[in-house]
Amino acid sequence: MLNKKNKLVLLATAGAMVLGANSVAQASTLDDTKNRGAVQCGVSDGLPGFSAPDDQGEWQGLDVDVCRAVAAAVFGDAEAVRYISLNAVERFTALQSGEVDLLSRNTTWTTTRDTTLGLNFAGVNFYDGIGFMVNTDLGVSSSTELDGAAVCVQSGTTTELNVADYFRANGMTFDPIVFDTSEQTVGGYEAGRCDVLTSDTSQLAALRIQLSDPDGSVILPEVISKEPLGPVVRQGDDQWFNIVKWSLFAMLNAEEMGITSDNVDEMLASEDPDIARLLGEDGNYGQGMGLEANWAYNIISQVGNYGESYERNVGMDSPLQIERGINALWTQGGIQYAPPIR
C-alpha cells in the first residue's frame, strides 16, 4: 500500500520535473538544429510547385527551396533538411510546439497569425490571391455569377474567411463545403459535390493539373483577396528569425545582382562591392546570425536565386506555368524587393 503511493508521488514529482525542464529548455533554435544535424521544415501535404515529392521521392517546390536555403546557410548543405508534411489545421501547432523549426507552407501573413499565435512571418516568397475554379460545363465566366453556388474549400485557411466576406460583400449566398486536406477538397469538387473550388490562384493552377480532365475546368479571372505567402518561425528567437529572413533575402538579392547557381563561382571575383559583400568576399555578414561568411554563396550555388527557383517550380519551366506578374523583382515591374546586404 505505502509503496504504491510513494511510487505515485515520485512519479508525479518526476513528471513535474520533466515539464519544468521543458519550460527552461528554450535554447536557441540554431543550436538545436546544429545538434540535430538537419533543419526540420514543415511543408504542405503535397502541392505541386510549392512542396510535393517528385517521382524519386525528393521534395521539390518553391516553399521547399526556402527550407533548402536555410539548410545551406546553416550547414553549407542544402540537403540537410527533414521534411514534415502538415495540413492547414496542424501547421501552427506543429510550429508552436517545436515539432518544426520553420514552416514553409504557402501560409498567408495576417494580423491574427502574426500577433496572437506566438509566430513571426519572415518575409513573402509568393504574392498570391484567392480565385475560383469552375467546371466549363457551367458556362460561368465571372465570379459575380456564382450566387447560390456550393463552394469546396479547405478547412482552417484564410480562404474560408475571405470567400465568406466576398460573397457577403457582393450580396450573394453560397454553401461552404469544408474539407480537411486539399486532396479531399479536390475529391469533393470532382465528385460534383460543389460547383466551385476555391483557393489561392497558384494552388488552383497546381490542383487543376492533377484533375482527371484539366481542360474541363477553368480558373475565373477575378482575384478577390491579397494572400502574401511566406515562411514562418516561432516568436522569441531573433537569431533564427534573422537567418530565415535573410536566407530569403539572399535569394532575391542574388537575382537582382544577376548571380545564378551557374555563374556564382565566377562572381566570387567580381569587382562589384554589392556582390562581394553578398558572397562573403568583403566583410562577414553571416557573423551577426552565427553563420559562416559564405552563407549566401552556399545558398546560391546549391539552391539558386529566387528567379531560378521560381521558373523551375512554378514558372514557365514547370507544368504550372504561372507568369511572374507581381512576383517579379521591383526592377522588373513587380513588387519583390529585398533589403540590401550592408
Binding site: T116, L117, G148, A164, I177, V178, F179
Partner: protein, 396 residues
C-alpha cells in the same frame, strides 16, 4: 448493520499510525494533495510557457466575429456570428446526428438481433451476414464508402431523381418540401397533446384493469388511432392550413424546402449501420441468456410467439442488454467526431477544426470540446443507469 468486533477491547488507545483506517485516510489525503499540487503546477507552467511564447490565452475570442460559413445549422447562423455561436452550431449538429444515429441503430440492431435467432434459416443467415460484414469493416472506411462511393453515383443537380416533382435527390443532397404553417395551425399540436395525454391515461387504466380483473383490450392500437386520427380530423376540419414550400431548381441548385446534405446522410447511415451490428449481437446474447424454460413455459400457456417474445423474453433480456447497450451508445456519440473526414459540420469539424485554426486558441478550444463529449457521455450514462435500475430484477 453489524458492529465490528473491537481489535483491542482493553488497554490504552493505540497511536494513530497503528490504526489502519486512520492511516489509510492520511495517505488518501496526501495523495489528493499531491495530485492537486501537480495539476496546479502544470496549469501554471502551461500559462507561463504560453505567455513566454507570446501566445494569447483566455476565452475572449468566443465573442469575436467568426467570418466563415457553415453549410448546416439548426439555429440562425451567418458568417457575421461569433465563435461562441460556431460552438453551439457544431454542438447541435453533433447532437442531431448522434441522437438520430442512436434511434436508427437501436431499431436496426433489435430487428437484426431478433432475426438472428429466427427459426427461419434464410432470415437467420442474412442477419448473421449483416453482423459479420458491418462489424468487421472500420467505421471510417464505411463513412468514406457511403460518402464517396455512393455519392458519386448520384446524378447532378440538373438531372435530379425526383419523386412527383416535390422530392429531389442529387449529388448535393436530398431536397424535401417544407411545410409552412398558416394561422389556425396552432389547433393541431394542441389536439395532438390532448390525444397523447388521453392515450397515456388509457394505457395506465388498462394496465390497472388487467392486473385486477385479468381482462385486456388492445390499448396500443386505440392509442395509435387517437394520436394519428384526432389531429388529422382537426386538420381536415380546419381546411388544411398548411402550404408547402417545394424546392425549385434555380441557378446552380435547388432553392427552398428542406435540404438534407449528403455529409449528414453518409455519416448517419455509417454510424447507424455500424453500431447496429454490435447492438444486434448484444440483443442476441441477451435473449440467449434467458433460460429456454421461460419460452417453453410461456408457450405452454399457448401464448403466440410474438407475445412470448414481447412479454416474457425481451423484458428479462433487457437486464442483460442495457449495460453493454450503454457502451454502444457512447461509442456512437464519440464516433460521430469522424464527421471531420467528410466535412459534416459537427463540433470537431467546426469548432476544434476551423475555429481552433482561425483563432489559434488550441488549449481553450480542445478543453471545451473534451468537456462537451465528457458531459454528453456522462449524461447518457446516467440516464441508462437509471433505466437499468428501473428494469433490474426486483426481488420480493
Amino acid at each position: 448493520m453489524s458492529v465490528r468486533p473491537q481489535a483491542h477491547p482493553v488497554g490504552p488507545k493505540p497511536p494513530f499510525w497503528r490504526d489502519r483506517a486512520k492511516r489509510a485516510l492520511i495517505f488518501q489525503v496526501l495523495l489528493i494533495a499531491a495530485v492537486a499540487a501537480f495539476l496546479l503546477y502544470i496549469i501554471g507552467n502551461t500559462q507561463a510557457n504560453l505567455a513566454a511564447r507570446g501566445i494569447t490565452t483566455g476565452f475572449g475570442f468566443l465573442s469575436n466575429t467568426a467570418g466563415f460559413g457553415i453549410v448546416q445549422s439548426l439555429i440562425d447562423y451567418s458568417s457575421q456570428s461569433t465563435y461562441g455561436r460556431t460552438f453551439v452550431v457544431g454542438l447541435l449538429n453533433t447532437l442531431l446526428v448522434s441522437a438520430l444515429g442512436v434511434v436508427a441503430a437501436t431499431i436496426i440492431g433489435f430487428t437484426v438481433g431478433i432475426a438472428r435467432l429466427s427459426p427461419n434459416w434464410l432470415i437467420a443467415r442474412l442477419a448473421n451476414a449483416y453482423i459479420e460484414i458491418f462489424r468487421n469493416i472500420p467505421l471510417l472506411l464505411q463513412i468514406f464508402f457511403w460518402y464517396f462511393a455512393v455519392l458519386r453515383t448520384m446524378p447532378s443537380a440538373r438531372d435530379s431523381l425526383s419523386l412527383g416533382e416535390v422530392v429531389f435527390l442529387n449529388v448535393r443532397g436530398l431536397y424535401l418540401p417544407e411545410p409552412l404553417f398558416e394561422s389556425g395551425f396552432g389547433l393541431i399540436p394542441l389536439t395532438l397533446g390532448i390525444a397523447v395525454a388521453a392515450s397515456i391515461a388509457l394505457v395506465v387504466w388498462n394496465k390497472r384493469r388487467h392486473e385486477t380483473t385479468g381482462k385486456r383490450f388492445p390499448a396500443g392500437w386505440i392509442s395509435l388511432g387517437l394520436i394519428l386520427g384526432l389531429p388529422l380530423m382537426v386538420l381536415v376540419a380546419t381546411g388544411v392550413p398548411v402550404t408547402w414550400d417545394v424546392p425549385q431548381l434555380t441557378g446552380f441548385n435547388f432553392r427552398g424546402g428542406i435540404t438534407i446534405i449528403p455529409e449528414f446522410l453518409a455519416l448517419w447511415l455509417a454510424l447507424s449501420i455500424y453500431t447496429a451490428s454490435f447492438i444486434a449481437e448484444i440483443v442476441r446474447s441477451g435473449i440467449q441468456a434467458i433460460s429456454h424454460g421461460q419460452t417453453e413455459a410461456a408457450q405452454a400457456l399457448s401464448l403466440p410467439r410474438n407475445l412470448v417474445l414481447r412479454l416474457v423474453v425481451v423484458p428479462q433480456a433487457m437486464r442483460v442488454i442495457i449495460p453493454p447497450l450503454t457502451s454502444q451508445y457512447l461509442n456512437l456519440i464519440k464516433n460521430s467526431s469522424l464527421a471531420t473526414a467528410i466535412g459534416y459540420p459537427d463540433l470537431v469539424s467546426v469548432f476544434a477544426g476551423t475555429t481552433l485554426n482561425q483563432t489559434g486558441q488550441a488549449i481553450e478550444v480542445i478543453a471545451m470540446t473534451m468537456a462537451v463529449y465528457l458531459t454528453i457521455s456522462l449524461l447518457v450514462s446516467m440516464f441508462m443507469n437509471w433505466f437499468n435500475a428501473r428494469v433490474a430484477l426486483v426481488e420480493r
